[in-house]
Each structure stands twice: as C-alpha cells, then as structure tokens.
C-alpha cells in the first residue's frame, strides 16, 4: 500500500493547525454504500409485506379448499354400505349374516358392522315417528363396510357374489358420489391453482415495479460507484444484498402475519370443535387448517419475494451500467 509520501514532502497547502485531532472525527462503523433507511426503501418494504400477506392468504385458502375437497372425498370413499331388503320368504337375519360373511371375505376390508334392528329403526324414525312396533314393519337393514385406508377392494366381484348368494342385498359403493366429489375437488383445485397463479404473477410483477421505483432514487449511487472505479459485480452485489434483505423483511412481515392469522383460525377452530356449530363447520370446510404444506408454501413465498426483489435490483443496476457505457 502506497503512502502519501509525495504529498507529505511538500509544504502543507492548507493551514494544518488542526492535525492534533487527526482521527477524532473519522466514523467507526462505515455506512452501507446503499442507504438503508430511505423512504423509497420503506415504501417498498410495505408493498412487499402487503403483497406477501395477500398472496399467502390466497395460498392458505387454496390449501384449505384442496384439503377439504380431498377430505370429503376420502371420507366418502372410506366406506361402502350393503342394504339388505326384507323379502317375503327369506330370513332377513340369515341374509344379513351371509352378506357380512361375503364382505369380510373380501380383501381390503377393515371392519364390517350391521346396524341392529333398533339402529335401523332409529335411522328412519324422523320419517315415521317413534313408538312404532318395529317388528311389524319390513325395515331394510344396513351393513356398513369400512375399508382399510388406501385399499381398493374389488367391489365388482363383491357385488356379483352378493347378487348370487343374497339376492335381497344390494351393494352401494357410492361410486356416483365419489365421481362427483372427485370432479368437484378437481375443479376446486384447478380454480384454486389458477387464482393462485394469477395472484403470484401480479405479486411478482408488482414487486418488480416497486423495486424499480425504489431503485430510481439509487441511480446516482450506481453512477458514482461506477465513476470511482467499482466493478459492475461489486455494484450489483451491494444492491442485491440490500434488496434481498429488504425483500426478506417485507416478506417476513406479510408472510408472518398470514401464518399468525392461520394459526389463530386453527386455534379458534380447535376450541370450537365439539360445539355443534364447530362440528358443522368442520364437516363443511374440513379441518380449517392450512396444514404443514400450507405453512411451507408461505415460507417459499417469502423467499420468492426476496429473490424477485434482489434480482430486479440487480437487473436495474445492470441496465443503468449499460446505459452509462453505451453513451
């Protein structure tokens, strides 16, 4: 490192009376080259926070819809029912027992339970009123067949066997329901994905423009750094680091708020669970939880914001430098 020798040797051009306080005023910690607390920077942080919050809400809502849709679907598809009709000349109890045997003999079945006469009666009580003498009425009997999770029993074969051995029994595997559920769930997921894609696109575009706006005030800094001999990569790095932090901060505020909100909803939901209203809501909306994937998606969103911000600042720096060099 060269010293100031040639300058020292000559006469002081300036009244050097103050050299006693040589190092007194030099600041201890150098200021960042990109100013940290600018108004444009704060505005950008706010914009990113709000956009991240909205995008996170959309993401969470979509996760809930998708989760609920598949919950309904799996709830419905986890069991099938066999209905045994009373037919004159046949012993309904024997028919029920035979049907139970056939069901239990099928692979992939977890549990088979026949509704007792009493229970069956309770099912139709709302229509017929209580206090009837049930033994007098020909009440169909229900057998609920619960499937092993993930199993896909051969219902076609089971139906055939039933038809052959117990003609009074019919198998309802809810196929129509499931098909409709699946269609609904798929539609919900598709709409959700489309909305999410739009929201994300708008968010990233807005962050890009907001970053450009904030960068406009930094053009002079880019120029000066260039003039005093900084390399392009040095300049780009300064801005990229600054804007990455800025984006992370905004994203963390917005994403954090969304996570807190979802956490609160979940807590309230758990608290309400068991109350009649809560049960109904749970039946309709599923668990009200965005789940671990939802929270992960929000974290990814925060990082996405920060990266979009940092890359935009870098691109703006490079454009500024190109413009300077092109003249």
């Amino acid at each position: 490192m060269s010293t100031l020798e040639p300058l020292e040797r000559m006469a002081e051009p300036w009244d050097a009376g103050s050299s006693g306080s040589m190092h007194a005023l030099a600041p201890e910690v150098p200021s960042p080259i990109v100013p940290s607390g600018s108004i444009a920077g704060r505005a950008l942080t706010a914009v990113i926070a709000i956009l991240t919050f909205l995008a996170a809400l959309t993401t969470g809502a979509m996760m809930m819809v998708v989760g609920s849709a598949s919950d309904w679907q799996s709830d419905v598809s986890r069991e099938v029912t066999i209905q045994v009709r009373p037919v004159s000349g046949r012993d309904i109890d024997a028919d029920v027992r035979a049907a139970i045997d056939i069901a239990q003999g099928t692979a992939g079945i977890a549990q088979v339970r026949a509704f007792t006469k009493q229970e069956s009666a309770q099912l139709i009580e709302p229509w017929l009123g209580s206090g009837l003498v049930l033994s007098d009425l020909p009440i169909p009997r229900m057998i609920v067949v619960k499937l092993l999770s993930g199993a896909r029993p051969d219902f076609a074969a089971m139906g055939k066997t039933l038809a052959a051995k117990v003609p009074s029994a019919t198998l309802d595997d809810h196929r129509g329901w499931i098909a409709r559920m699946r269609a609904m769930a798929e539609t919900a997921v598709a709409i959700g994905a489309a909305i999410l894609a739009l929201v994300l696109a708008v968010t990233v575009l807005s962050v890009t423009f907001a970053t450009r706006g904030a960068m406009a005030t930094n053009q002079a800094i880019v120029e000066v750094l260039h003039y005093v001999g900084a390399t392009d990569s040095f300049i780009a790095k300064q801005f990229q680091r600054h804007f990455l932090l800025l984006g992370l901060k905004g994203g963390a505020i917005g994403g954090g708020a969304a996570i807190a909100l979802f956490g609160l909803i979940e807590a309230i939901n758990v608290w309400l669970l068991g109350t009649p209203g809560g049960d109904e809501a749970a039946a309709l909306f599923g668990s009200f939880s965005v789940g671990i994937p939802g929270y992960i998606a929000i974290l990814v969103l925060i990082v996405l914001m920060a990266v979009a911000t940092a890359l935009t600042s870098r691109r703006t720096v490079n454009q500024t430098l190109d413009r300077i060099e092109r003249e």
Partner: protein
C-alpha cells in the same frame, strides 16, 4: 498518455459540437482547458474519461485504441484517472470521510489499510474537522475540496477537473489551484477545465482553448 486524432462529437442528430480535435495529454503535464460556456469542455472531459464515445476520430489512451477495448478494459483504464465533476457527485448519505475513501473501498480494500491515508488527505485539503459531516451540510467550497480529495485518493495518473473553482471565491480558488499544482509536481498529469481567466493567469501553463468546436493549443 491520451491522444486525440481528428476527433469529432455530436449529440444525437444535432450539430457537431467538437470538430477535428487533434492533441495529446502527456505524462506529467499540467494544462488548462478553456473556452466559453457551452463550448464543449465538459463533453471533452467526458470523452477523456471514456464516458462518451466520439462520433468520429481516434482516441488512444495509455497506448490503447479506446474504440476497440471491452467494457472491463475501459473500467480498468478509468481506474487510472481521477475526475472532479462540475456538480461534484458526492453521495449524500455518506460522510465526507466515506465519500473520499470510496475509490479505495470499492476496490475491496480493508478500511484499516487506508484510514490513515484518507484522514491525512482530508487534513491536507482542509477538511480535517469536517470528516464526519454529510455533503448536504458542507459549503460549496468544502464539497469542491471533498470531490477533489476523492478524485486523487487512489493516486490516479491523470486528474480531470471540471470547473473546480466554479463555486468558490477567488481566494479559495487560488488555494485549490495550489493544490493541483502540488499534485502535478508529485507526478500526476492534470487537466483543469475552467473559464476563469484570472485563475489561469495565476499559473503559467499550457492552454487548450475550445472555440466554435475547434481546439487551439497554446503551449
């Protein structure tokens, strides 16, 4: 060190504001660049600093044709030149000390390695007491001296100064001129653009005079 051959410059589709410039700036030389306002002094300095490409002609710098070198080489050449802009171009959020040390800082040097040197230079230009001040609170003359200090801190081989006495009283102007002369004596080539006749009369040096787009050299 810098050689212009038949250089012409026009902005966009406008008229040619500089025509057929042929001259050179030698190693260890001192010269004034003068001419009326709007004559093209700033434009010429910008060409010398490689911020502006000539519309025609050849500029050779440190024995290289500046038209054919790439961006990185241009940046490297520029690092050997210090420039004082007419409007200073100090960064308002950095202290005087930080502004002056910027050329060393952007080279990735450790602050401890240049601290002493910067402090010494600041004292030398009379800003010893203003090291911690931000440019917005500096006077015009103080800004001028900070800009000059920044231009010379990295020990350039060539110093280009655009109206370095334009914002100060004659007394301060003379002191700044002495500063440039000392730099010249310590080995730096100096080009001072000015239209201050009184200043030029202070020191007998080569004059490059721009007049109606042409350059007249008075050695």
């Amino acid at each position: 060190m810098i050689r212009f051959e038949n250089v012409g410059l026009r902005y966009g589709l406008g008229p040619e504001i500089l025509r057929d410039l042929s001259f050179s700036i030698d190693r260890h030389s001192f010269q004034f660049l003068t001419g009326p306002s709007g004559a093209g002094k700033t434009s010429l300095l910008r060409m010398m600093f490689l911020l502006l490409r000539p519309t025609r002609g050849l500029i050779t710098m440190f024995d290289r044709d500046t038209a054919t070198i790439d961006k990185d080489r241009r940046a490297a050449l520029r690092r050997r030149i210090g420039i004082v802009f007419q409007d200073f171009r100090l960064l308002d959020h950095l202290t005087t000390y930080e502004n002056v040390s910027l050329p060393l800082r952007v080279l990735g040097k450790d602050e401890a390695s240049y601290r002493h040197e910067v402090v010494e230079l600041l004292h030398w230009v009379g800003l010893g007491e203003r090291m911690g001040a931000l440019p917005p609170v500096l006077s015009g003359g103080e800004k001028q001296r900070a800009a000059i200090a920044r231009a010379v801190i990295a020990r350039p081989q060539l110093l280009l100064a655009d109206e370095p006495t334009g914002n100060v009283d004659p007394n301060l102007g003379q002191r700044l001129l002495r500063l440039f002369i000392e730099l010249y004596k310590s080995g730096t080539s100096v080009v001072i653009a000015t239209h201050d006749i009184a200043l030029m009369d202070e020191y007998d040096a080569r004059r490059l005079v721009l007049h109606e787009g042409r350059l007249h050299v008075y050695d």
